[in-house]
Amino acid sequence: MLIAILVLILLALIIGLVLGFSSIKFKVKGDPIVEKIDAILPQTQCGQCSYPGCKPYAKAIASGEADINQCPPGGEDGVKALAELMGVEYKPLDESHGITKPKSVAFIDEDTCIGCTLCIQACPVDAILGAAKQMHTIIEKECTGCELCLPPCPVDCITMEVIEENAENWKWKYPVYSLSKKTAKVQ
């Protein structure tokens, strides 16, 4: 009995040591290009690009599997930044993946909300606060405006509110230059 316990402990110790050591020794750094693409993407995790989030889409772009123009929340500016990073020609946003909308956040009409938690499950960034049969509310700061909470709501109490530009959230627009005359014509 004792020897069995000792043997198992010893085995676990050896395995733990070897695995721990080798995970440090054989560490592989992630593909840096994926990180760079991911940094450009808007991190809405909305899935409109037909990938389950921004990181998978970034991976797909890096492997050449997906095109650069499938991200509506990123808009034209995003496509331009991606074109520059990947060294490919700019192309207009693929409208089959949706159109760019003004930046907005979801808003729950708290009088209508029945507390079903369906929107909480749909939210990719955990921006909805609430519990079963309790009123839900949206953490405005966390909301990316991906609209994924709209379809599951059984009482349609969620609306998208456009963020008005005011003195608090105004910032300089990113400078945008057309890459060449040819692409300027496409626009």
């Binding site: 020897i3 043997v7 085995l11 054989f26």
Partner: protein, 193 residues
């Protein structure tokens, strides 16, 4: 000697096929047989894990468990040791053979907890094979697994386009196909004299 190894191989691939005769490893057999491509990746990962797993568990059994009269710990130690060894080789592979790593992909960690992977070392220990025999038994088992998995996957790919009656569509026809394959493999028992 060589004849013995050859016999082990033939018997594990055809006569005592792990999937169709021993009914082990059915989960990947039904689960990843929808596409030929994934089934080939899965087969490669299984071959790798089974060969490595058979050898390491032989060593554990021979040098650690049997001298200490701890044979009853086989199941526990085999699971842990195989999982650890596969994890280790996976890290090694990711660093030094990225192509191989990409090919085996997600299947390598998935297969470690498969019942075929545990079953083969246990059968090895029961039959008290030596190191090389264990390796051949494991590899043969993997070849047998790959053989039926790839056959099944290609059959299922064709079934997609076949005119299957409404009630039998999907998993039902897959189960029937698997059963028919199992019946066919029973014919190989005749090889055993």
């Amino acid at each position: 000697m060589l004849e013995n190894y050859l016999l082990i191989m033939v018997s594990t691939v055809l006569v005592n096929n792990i999937v169709l005769t021993k009914i082990l490893g059915l989960c990947p057999f039904m689960g990843v047989s929808k596409k030929l491509e994934t089934s080939i990746s899965m087969s490669a990962a299984t071959a790798f894990v089974l060969t490595i797993g058979s050898m390491t568990s032989w060593a554990i059994n021979h040098y650690l468990l049997e001298p200490n009269n701890l044979v009853y710990l086989r199941t526990l130690t085999f699971i842990v040791v195989i999982a650890a060894v596969v994890q280790f080789t996976e890290m090694l592979m990711q660093k030094h053979f990225p192509v191989l790593y990409k090919m085996l992909g997600i299947f390598l960690p998935l297969i470690t907890t498969n019942c075929a992977v545990l079953g083969i070392p246990l059968l090895n220990a029961q039959a008290s094979y030596g190191l090389v025999e264990s390796a051949f038994f494991g590899f043969g088992g993997a070849i047998g697994f790959s053989f039926v998995l790839i056959l099944f996957a290609s059959t299922r790919e064709r079934l997609e386009g076949a005119d299957v009656p409404e009630a039998f569509k999907g998993s039902a026809i897959a189960m029937i196909t698997a059963a028919l394959m199992s019946l066919a493999f029973m014919g190989f028992i005749g090889l055993d004299r």
